[in-house]
């Protein structure tokens, strides 16, 4: 299939509208007769709602309705994945009402909705709603939550959602018993806020003529929202509920989940028989979008005398927040625990994960989802191991990598890697980054009074979570296939309907390349449609770097069907045997002759079937395919980061960043490179800048961009990127995911570099983010210590 379009940096089709201000985001949509919702949110981390008096607000001119939890008694916001504890018991799954019922469990919890003719009126009137709270002690710190008398949910003892394990404990213990050396680490994976630039928004619409509901929403997966909200929360059948996710301004995971506001506006639109719009203010996003990460981990690795890993043991506490968000339970388990082999041939692995409820915003997937947490702990631990063994950090990795000729490789924690070449990836990154002559640069920096350090990390990722039967047996309550419909129009142009959703990934271009290449068309002749349940047969959406690896294959399968049917039609038109028809560059030819029919002629015949094998074939040229993968795809890579620290202020500047990745077959290298850049920036953000802070009362300290530090242009360097692509064996297109790798591979490389820079001062540990304050404290702490010695 490799022709001119595949692997070509085709300029994006979607850019024209985005660059001219003609994008169509949810908040750009206004429905006739639309009312506006303002949501009153809990100012407390944990409190009983004693009384709500909304009478004054309801009487305000322009106010249409005020709804509380007593008014909106609907189903609970569902959780899409059930994890079982080691003892076989199902996780604790407390209800999550769209509007709080009697108790609020985090700052930002929905308490009351004011709907008015304008947003300003709704907001003004909201101040007249009197809510009498009885504050309760907040549970914030996970470690204390497990012993706290205060319970986030009265029927969840110890605030423990589940206690899960995977791996062979005995084999691991035996290996530790005979280890030459053991390296240990304790670390925190800091809580993050996705902060897609477009705040969430939702418009509920109700058609009185037929009882149909429409929800316009900022979602990465409109069909999933239709299923969850329709079936579980509002009991609206799919046939009466349309969900539209138009242009969406970034997601990074935070727009996967079914949120209360979607249910509230849809439900209210039905109640009031008019459209209801809600748009988050950024400060609302901070307290209502699902957060990410937030793990506390202890890990240790046993080694033989050559530094080869014998066994790995990991204990993790994962914060769930106040309620279970849609996919929260599977993040620290099946997207984290099962990844713990990393790039290494460690023969025995055992891990335990305790998921804990706290009075904080629910935590769910954020770019990488489980895999960054896993990579971070592994790579930090490997650095510690290198120090213990007095080995170069690259060398200890080299000794432990799975070899390129050992694929497919079965890890001890369920996954089976299909392909990879970790040695070459690292060698290439080492060359590109100048790893070997780093000491010269360190010495030069020292002359300028700067502490220079270098860090390295390697990672594997599991993308395109699958197959459905396997994830189902592990607790997933949905399938993880993808659907595509390819419609060849009578005159030969093509529309592709995909169940994936693009919110920055460039599907309209990449998928058009895939289809144009296969059908011998130009990219302009192919239109890609996504984000509307009324148009697309079905879909699971976009997350976990699955769109091309799963959705792209579904398109390819639909194309196979199109071509197969086209061959039948062409055989009839060319009066040849079907088996003699070949399809190439848009033409159906009779093998060995110059007899041919172009795709356009075949499609015209299919829709104007005057000369057509109507006895054997239906008219029309449109095919739908579902694809359920046999395996994940496993991109891998090596990131090298170089920093300079100003010892007087603690400021860390990234002076070089190199990423070499394996994405399998690449369709559009320009788009892939862009995905890598964005991921790295988020990883650097986690490592140096970003963290979500709650105080002991459950107040969100980093509740706006004034305190939550988003990476800006002057915080980052330009990146050096490279690839060593090994086609995926288990993926029909040979592709691997690329959307999350930057955020997965970069944090340990950055922190490794910071620690390396500070190592001459005796610093061996640093938590994320390595803010100027923290770095200064580390430098200063050591200074004090050294002086005391």
């Amino acid at each position: 299939m490799d022709g001119s379009l595949i692997g070509s940096p085709v300029r994006r089709k979607e850019d024209q509208r985005f660059l001219t201000g003609r994008g169509n985001y949810t908040d750009d949509i206004n429905r006739p007769g639309q009312a506006y919702a303002y949501i009153i949110r809990s100012p407390h981390g944990h409190a009983k709602i004693k009384k709500i008096d909304a009478s004054a607000a309801a009487k305000t001119k322009g106010v249409i309705a005020v709804f509380t939890g007593d008014d909106m008694k609907v189903g609970s916001l569902p959780c899409g994945w059930q994890v079982k504890s080691t003892d076989g018991s199902p996780m604790k799954e407390p209800p999550h009402p769209p509007i709080a019922q009697g108790k609020v469990r985090h700052v930002g919890d929905q308490v009351c909705v004011v709907i008015a003719e304008t947003y300003a009126i709704a907001r003004d009137a909201a101040e007249k709603v009197k809510i009498d709270y009885q504050p309760l002690p907040a549970v914030v710190d996970m470690r204390r939550a497990l012993e706290s008398k205060s319970l986030v949910h009265d029927d969840v003892p110890k605030n423990l959602c589940y206690d899960w394990t995977i791996g062979d404990a005995k084999a691991v213990n035996d290996a530790f018993a005979k280890a030459h050396k053991v390296a240990k680490i304790e670390l925190i994976n800091n809580r993050l806020i996705a902060n897609a630039m477009e705040p969430r928004a939702a418009i509920g619409d109700y058609d009185r003529s037929n009882g149909d509901y429409t929800l316009y929403t900022t979602s990465q997966n409109p069909h999933v929202i239709r299923l969850l909200m329709g079936a579980f929360v509002l009991q609206i059948p799919e046939s009466k509920l349309r969900v539209v996710a138009p242009d969406v301004g970034g997601g990074f995971g935070s727009k996967i989940y079914h949120y209360a506001e979607e249910a509230i506006v849809t439900w209210a639109a039905g109640k009031l028989a008019r459209p209801v719009k809600w748009t988050a203010e950024r400060s609302e996003s901070f307290m209502s979008d699902a957060h990410g990460r937030d793990h506390i981990t202890h890990a240790k690795v046993a080694m033989d005398k050559d530094g080869r890993f014998l066994a790995l043991m990991v204990d993790t506490m994962a914060n769930m927040g106040a309620y279970l968000s849609t996919f929260a339970p599977c993040i620290p388990t099946y997207l984290h625990g099962t990844l713990l082999a990393g790039n290494y041939a460690t023969p025995a692995i055992y891990t335990n994960v305790k998921a804990v409820f706290t009075n904080t915003v629910p935590v769910d997937a954020y770019r990488g989802a489980g895999r960054p947490e896993c990579t971070y702990l592994l790579e930090r631990l490997v650095d510690v191991a290198a120090r213990e063994m007095k080995l170069d950090r690259a060398e200890i990795r080299r000794r432990n990598f799975i070899h390129a000729d050992d694929f497919p490789y079965q890890t001890p924690v369920a996954l089976k890697y299909d392909s990879g070449d970790y040695h070459t990836l690292m060698d290439k990154a080492i060359r590109l980054s100048g790893w070997d002559d780093f000491e010269k640069r360190r010495a030069e920096a020292k002359k300028r009074g700067k502490l220079r350090g270098i860090g390295i990390s390697t990672y594997i990722e599991a993308c395109g979570i699958a197959p459905s039967a396997v994830v189902g047996s592990l607790g997933a309550r949905a399938g993880l296939y993808e659907c595509a419909n390819v419609r060849v129009h009578p005159t030969g142009s093509v529309t592709v309907f995909t169940g994936t959703h693009s919110h920055g990934q460039g599907h309209e271009t990449t998928f058009a390349q895939l289809v144009a290449e296969r059908l011998g068309l130009t990219v302009e002749q192919v239109d890609v449609v996504h984000g509307d349940t009324a148009k697309i047969p079905f879909g699971m959406g976009t997350y976990g770097s699955r769109s091309l690896a799963v959705g792209g294959v579904a398109i390819a399968k639909a194309l196979d069907k199109i071509i197969a049917k086209g061959k039948k039609i062409a055989a009839h038109l060319l009066e040849a045997s079907e088996s003699d028809i070949e399809f190439r560059n848009g033409a159906f030819t009779v093998a060995g002759t110059d007899k041919k029919k172009m795709l356009g002629e075949v499609s015209l015949a299919a829709y104007v079937p005057h000369n057509y094998p109507i006895d054997k074939l239906e008219p029309g040229l449109e095919e739908t395919a579902f694809f359920d993968p046999l395996n994940f795809s496993y991109p891998a890579g090596c990131h090298v980061c170089e920093v300079e620290i100003d010892p007087d202020t603690g400021v860390t500047k990234i002076v070089n960043f190199t990423a070499v990745d394996d994405f399998g077959r690449v369709l559009n290298p320009m788009i892939v490179d862009g995905q890598v850049h964005g991921g790295i920036a988020q990883g650097i953000g986690q490592a140096l800048l970003e963290t979500c802070v709650y105080d002991d009362n459950g107040q969100l300290v980093t509740g706006s961009l004034m305190d939550y530090c988003m990476p800006r242009a002057d915080d980052l360097p330009s990146f050096k990127t490279g690839t060593h692509n090994v086609p995926a064996r288990d993926n029909p297109l040979g592709v691997k995911g690329c959307g999350e790798v930057g955020a997965i591979g970069s944090p340990p490389a950055v922190i490794g570099a910071v620690i390396d820079a500070l190592s001459p001062l005796g610093v061996t540990h640093m938590e994320m983010p390595a803010t100027p304050l923290r770095v200064w404290q580390a430098i200063n702490g050591t200074k004090h210590r050294k002086a005391a010695e």
Partner: protein, 161 residues
């Protein structure tokens, strides 16, 4: 209510608004110019950057009434008919956008930079973009785009002379 008249993208338009209406609301809600976005409520993100009397400002931190009588250019007014502005073209050529949400503000800010500094260095571009946050691109391709856009704008200027 107050009557606000602005010349937006070359057209004179009047609307009656409450004094508390932000300029960005006037543009989006009264004039249907939804290309200017709102990404935050603390004047940090820059998704709403437009030009008022030729200078880049944040339309979320200016009242509509403050703009009465002003000349306003939004992202919708940047292209010359079907021909993209060189900065828009440079963003497309260099993959300087992904989800597109920060893009209008980013482009408007970049055009203002080049008005001041015809040939900005990478560092000058990064410093100038302090008030524009992008969550998708890691800025790498935005910086490339602005550099290319500036070069293209210099060329157009020479041609016109």
């Amino acid at each position: 209510m107050a009557s606000v008249t602005i010349t937006v993208n070359g057209q004179k338009r009047t609307a009656d608004v409450e004094p508390r209406t932000l300029l960005v609301q006037l543009l989006r809600e009264n004039h249907g110019l939804t290309g200017t976005h709102v990404g935050c409520d603390t004047s940090q993100c820059g998704a709403c950057v437009i030009h008022v009397n030729g200078k880049s400002v944040k339309a979320c931190t200016m009242l509509a009434v403050q703009a009465d009588g002003a000349s306003v250019t939004t992202i919708e007014g940047l292209a010359d008919g079907a021909t993209l502005h060189p900065m828009q073209e440079a963003f497309r050529d260099n993959h300087g956008l992904q989800c597109g949400f920060c893009t209008p503000g980013m482009v408007m800010s970049a055009v203002d930079l080049v008005q001041h500094n015809a040939d900005p260095s990478e560092q000058e571009i990064r410093d100038w973009l302090e008030g524009n946050i992008c969550r998708c691109t890691g800025y790498h391709n935005i910086v490339k785009s602005v550099k290319a856009g500036a070069a293209a704008m210099r060329k157009t200027k020479t041609k016109k002379k």
